[in-house]
Amino acid sequence: MSYQDVMNRKQQIMKDALRMDYDIFEDPGIGFDYEKMMTSTGYTLEDVMAIQSENNIGQTPLIELKRLSQYARKFAKEGYGARILLKDEAQNLSGSFKARRAAMSIYQAKKLGYKGVIAATSGNYGAAVAALAARAGLKCIIVQECYDSTGVGQPEIIEKARACQAYGAEVVQLSVGPELFYQFLILLEETKYFNASLYSPYGIMGIETLGYEIAQDILKKENRYPDMVICTNAGGGNLTGTARGLKKAGAINTQIVAASVDLTGLHMASDKDFNLKSFTTGHTGFGIPFSTFPDRSDVPRSAARPLRYMDHYGLVNQGSVFFITEALAVLEGMERGPAGNTSLALAFSLAQTLPKDQIIVVQETEYTGAGKHMNAQVSFASDRGIELILGNPLEEKPGKNIIFPASASMLKHKDISMDSLRTSYLKHYQDQMLFDQDYIYLAKELNTSEKHIKQLMEEMNETKTR
């Protein structure tokens, strides 16, 4: 089967593997009806909660990190240094918030009578799908990007393969490249299994309960909603689902902040760069392209559309995330996986910019273990010639060095301007004739006004002609 033959059958394969007709959501022009797509599944938030609860998922502890908050406060001006709380999602079945997403896909697959499920993921989602499939008596195949061309596997991804196999799944391990999608389509066509996509409405609605629980928990404890919720951002589903859940609970003024590890300079499809990164997810290599072009995913219209909800986007470097992972262990007694702590590193820096009575919620943690432990990742990096330095983390060069803060006072983040993200998004439409309905759609997609969209388009065209 040639690459092109399979890719040409993409639409039909996807349709058979989700039994969702995306055409009915399309509007004239560039847009589609996002809310109609999200409600088309027929599940309410209460249904989702009940399904998750049956599977030992959700209602995870929300823990105030008092010592870590005090540590950040030491470097803030008088009266500043917000309280940091952490939603301990590692307590979910399979060890991460991804179980919330998998629960809904598996429930739907079972309901529709599929014999098995397939998911394309090198991350925690694989273990989540495998665990839930096991509980539902469904077969499961996880397709991973795992090895470089010399056969060296990323330790974090190898650990996830092990976890998937522990739950009885078949793990197809591939070398670096976007042709993973080609192999994924072949497997869907061959097995007729359900596509447990991270980007279907099922994959997103499962996270709404996370945002909902955060709002409810803080309301109960503090009699108000959190001021800020920080979400580690890669494919955008985590932020989208959490924000939707917060809004459903009434927390409409809570600031929604995206956090990614800054891997600027490393190419995500590069065989050589693959094993030079210490984070396999939660980084800019996914976070920025998926935010600025959500429909690059494995479904016709992605349900993960983070720019609809995002108020700020902050970047932290690899060394800072490892530093905060160590601090979480030695100050709070919580040993967790480094990738899940990306948002915690950003919280440490952002807390210093907010008054001390304000509340920041970091909305996830993940399990840790062999391979996906910070020491495993740092030692792997050092074996591959990455220099380990104590110094100013903002000077880190991904793929060349990892710079750990020489003091927590140096743990600072970088902001990405929201308008630069919006402009990247709009570039996909710069050669297209747009009408009123398109501007209305774009304003919703980019969480701004139609007037502002027009301004950004004009500025973009001016730069182009200059």
């Binding site: 005090q70 795992c146 596997g153 190898i158 650990e159 601090a327």
Partner: protein, 98 residues
């Protein structure tokens, strides 16, 4: 001779370099797109033979037999001095906390 039903790992080139997607960085474009997969050997064979296996979902897949009774060898990494140094920094800077 490796007996049938033995747990093994196979390797297969899915797309040779020249058949890969056109939109790739040069270093990726010049190597093949490969797969590794584990399962039970269908017929007795030797390492390096082209064989068939039955996977965990009862599919039959073929490839070169590269490992017998494969197991995971990932770990927590070797000792890294920098990790001790950041711990010391954190403990030192938080000594006065309540």
């Amino acid at each position: 001779m490796i007996e049938a039903k033995t747990y093994v790992e196979i390797y297969r080139i899915i797309l040779p370099a020249q058949e890969r997607s056109s939109n790739l960085p040069v270093d990726t474009k010049r190597v093949p797109f490969e797969m590794r997969l584990r399962g039970k050997l269908l017929h007795a064979a030797e390492l390096g033979d082209r064989v068939e296996i039955e996977t965990a979902t009862n599919r039959i897949e073929s490839g070169i037999l590269v490992a017998v009774n494969p197991f995971y060898q990932h770990h927590f990494g070797h000792y890294v001095l920098t990790m001790t140094q950041i711990r010391d920094i954190i403990l030192d800077e938080t000594e006065d906390l309540l």
